[in-house]
Symmetry: C2
Subunit: 233 residues, 2 copies
């Protein structure tokens, strides 16, 4: 009845002879190239094989299935996040730096945003980042379960905020919609809520990039303040 726990990180790697053609590293790099260039749908096993000048199914010797490959690629992105030592910079700065770098990583690799939260983050990079955050919150004064709750709250905020941003960017890029039409559609849909509509129209001319950043910082400050409030009791 009970099946095995399937994740790359649980299996020990293939013996890894002296690179007879393909290798796991090489495959992951190629996959990252494809993902960055063409997005999550741009990665197919056939294309990957072609990029490596290999047969489509050769990859399956090094990786159990496509999901495992994605786990591997995903963890590379966690490696791009920066978590300064909280003992040096303080827990707030550490959390803030993590949040911003996580957002940046997702914006730089939109495909990773579609994996986050949906895929176990048990790779070495992900664990390292998580551990750093735990250190930070322990230093802040959290104890026991609350350390993990705090980490969870912060990361939940970051990618809850970032996922929609990334997919909106993706949408804008793939099908550049006519701005007039977008406004017309929104006007029609939200006709019943004039105040909301006013706000949307008012912000419509502002720089969307700066807007998003302000919005992110507003929420981030709130979350950090809220966590800090949990300490003073």
């Amino acid at each position: 009845m009970s099946k095995p726990f399937k994740t790359v990180w649980a299996r020990d790697q293939r013996p890894a002879k002296a690179s007879p053609g393909l290798s796991r590293d090489q495959i992951v790099r190629a996959a990252l190239d494809l993902l960055d260039a063409e997005g999550i749908d741009g990665l197919s096993m056939r294309k990957l094989g072609a990029k490596l000048s290999a047969g489509a199914t050769s990859v399956y010797w090094y990786v159990a299935n496509k999901d495992e490959l994605l786990e591997l690629a995903y963890d590379e992105i966690w490696g791009e996040m920066t978590t300064p030592d909280p003992a040096l910079v303080g827990w707030r700065h550490c959390g803030s730096a993590f949040a911003h770098s996580m957002r940046q990583a997702m914006l730089a690799h939109p495909w990773a945003a579609s994996l986050i939260g949906r895929m176990p983050a048990l790779g070495p990079n992900a664990l390292g980042v998580t551990n750093r955050m735990r250190e930070g919150f322990m230093l802040a004064g959290f104890e026991g379960l609350e350390v993990d709750y705090a980490v969870g709250t912060l990361t939940a905020y970051v990618f809850g905020m970032t996922i929609p941003e990334v997919s909106y960017n993706a949408y804008l890029e793939e099908s550049q919609p006519d701005q007039e039409e977008v406004m017309a559609a929104i006007t029609k849909a939200a006709a019943a809520y004039p105040d909301m509509l006013d706000r949307i129209k008012a912000t419509h001319r502002l720089d969307p990039r700066a807007m998003r950043e302000m919005s992110f910082d507003f929420g981030l400050s709130s979350v950090l303040d809220g966590l800090e409030a949990r300490l003073v009791t």
Copy 2:
């Protein structure tokens, strides 16, 4: 160069003659059935056609493509969220009720969690909920852009927290993994972080359901406190 803004809510519906066989409502209901029963991968146009005792491609008369159908189904889920009138219960209670009901809706319809944030929420139900939240935060004392920032912060937290929960549940259900093996895998992966590992092992025997709820409430209180802190200046 610029393409049209594609969303169901921008198009006007089909004339809708007196139900000659199929109808959009009927289709959406059938789609919801399939989604609830088999998840996001369980919905294919062929299966949907079969469920309606119709040809696979007949649905395309009522709906431009699968994405539109999902938008329609998605908005139904927003209809399940409850947002009590903030004028009666106060903004904090309103936000809290929204957060809990959003989480419940996602847990009840896991497929919807995989759409959230990725799909424009411009349906009538989604807009209604958003508007209610805006009312709440305006009543709290937020002004201008900050109203929207506050709404964004709260919803980001909720689904940042809920998405991983839902996908972990889905994983548990589809492939009941051996608990011993899971722990073995985690032990191996996190061997370098003994403190983290201790925590995981310690919480391993607790009721996961209750744990998740506590974690959610911890973060929710933090976020609400953090937002409240933005007001007192």
